[in-house]
Symmetry: C3
Subunit: 211 residues, 3 copies
């Protein structure tokens, strides 16, 4: 079916964006190829892995469908050893990454709904799938996760809202073929707008005195 093919391409773009951002961080920390592979793997596939563990979907998805692991492991050395390619990819990562965020979010929501979890839990599964790879990347690279900072511009928020768009469209009886592209497009556009206009969540008014 066409929609499934489009989803496959979009999630491959998302994996690619995860690999590039993982390799970039590994290079910054002067890691070798082993480090780059591990960080790229965690970034690209870590969110879905955590979702599967929490829901009890084991073996996890990249053991059930090895294509994700193949793609990640094939891309990483190419990006790692070609500094020029890496620089080019990082500059243009925002578009495939925003598409991937949408695709991963919807796939996470579907995994929850298929288990009969509530809409609330399904939306959390969508967000975890969409964003947690980047958190694991930063934790393993010894950084405070960028996702939790103001400068990420609504990354998790886009994922959460997109999850609800997909859930509501599904509950309204919309066809999968309609709900899915709608939700991915919603996340994609919202994310690009947030980056373009530097939109952040409101901060607490009073600063916290450090001790």
């Amino acid at each position: 079916m066409p929609v499934d093919w489009v989803m496959r391409i979009i999630s491959a773009l998302g994996v690619g964006a995860g690999v590039v951002s993982g390799v970039m961080e590994a290079r910054r920390k002067r890691m070798d190829l082993v480090g780059a592979v591990a960080v790229a793997f965690l970034t690209a596939l870590g969110g879905g892995t955590l979702r599967d563990l929490l829901l009890g979907h084991t073996p996890v998805f990249w053991i059930r469908d090895e294509n994700y692991a193949y793609l990640t492991l094939a891309l990483t050395p190419v990006v790692f050893y070609s500094t020029r390619l890496l620089r080019l990819s990082v500059r243009s990562i925002i578009v495939p990454d925003a598409l991937g965020l949408g695709a991963f979010t919807v796939m996470g929501v579907e995994a929850g709904l298929a288990d009969g979890t509530s809409m609330f839990i399904a939306s959390l599964m969508g967000v975890i799938t969409g964003v947690f790879g980047g958190v694991l990347r930063d934790v393993i690279c010894n950084e405070v996760p960028l996702l939790f900072k103001k400068d990420i511009y609504l990354y998790a928020t886009c994922s959460l809202l997109g999850a609800w768009v997909y859930i509501l469209a599904t509950k309204l009886g919309w066809l999968h073929t309609l709900a899915l592209p709608l939700a991915v497009a919603f996340v994609f556009i919202l994310r690009l707008l947030a980056v373009r206009f530097n939109i952040s969540l409101p901060e607490p008014r009073t600063p916290l005195s450090e001790r």
Copy 2:
């Protein structure tokens, strides 16, 4: 039953203490609301989540009983945006936190015993449930876990001893309604004494020369 109701209130206090300490750490690291939610969630519910994963109790407890997730997600923005409330809570966190430590420990032990694990493994499950949320908070906030430092004053030790109080009372055939409050009270009092008198585990006598 009254004991179950008391346990529910005590574990809600424990979740609340976890949220406050998570939000505090998030504010210190200048995170936004997304960061605060993630850190609060990990602090309050991370220990029980790890226990469930190790035992294979999936989907994990906060997917099976959504009240934990609701409470955490409802409390976090209130504490995050009200700096005054946050300061007040942090000053008085020690009492609800010590109660929560007792409740989470007992709940972890029960999860182990219910699976037919040995007393040894059940006691480890109690400690992991009681203390590991704080470890995950510090790992994700890029700090060496406070739990592993001298200044934590027997936090994990209180949990371990309380786990054994509960296990032995249960094995002696005591009623659940007796063993449970006994163990929670034991952890609570021991913890407050350790903090009051700055009690730590013995340190190695010889320092290790750094290189």
Copy 3:
């Protein structure tokens, strides 16, 4: 059977090497005994735990076979409080650690193959079992994982190649009693050679300009 006994001794050596390197890192970070126990446990048993979670082998192996946990918890205080013993162990850790790397790798591959996973996934399970404890040690101690650095001298690479030696020998119909010592010896020798001759993976030619 003799081979199984040798494997037991070798994996005990591997656990011992994990405990020593975990306690060493805990001492460097001025942790107390609780920290040393947690870090030693993660270092010695963390790789196999992650493998079990990914494959869905729960409860995880050290709950099913408590001897691993007993050994880890018995060794840690001895090594932690005897600074002299710790110094001696650290100097001579390389040999038991290299043996343990081989044993853990083979055990991880076997866990994968026993589940009917592909050779590719089985080899990943071998590497995760062999090396991920050290990654978790560094993450929880707030360091960039040493495994991902040039100075680790092919640690993960030895594990990966050893995994394939074991897989191919098994697929060629070799007896378990032959394939197993061959693979462990292969990892052991390759690892000692890599350390002796400071062999690393090739680095990217162009450095990445920091911003």
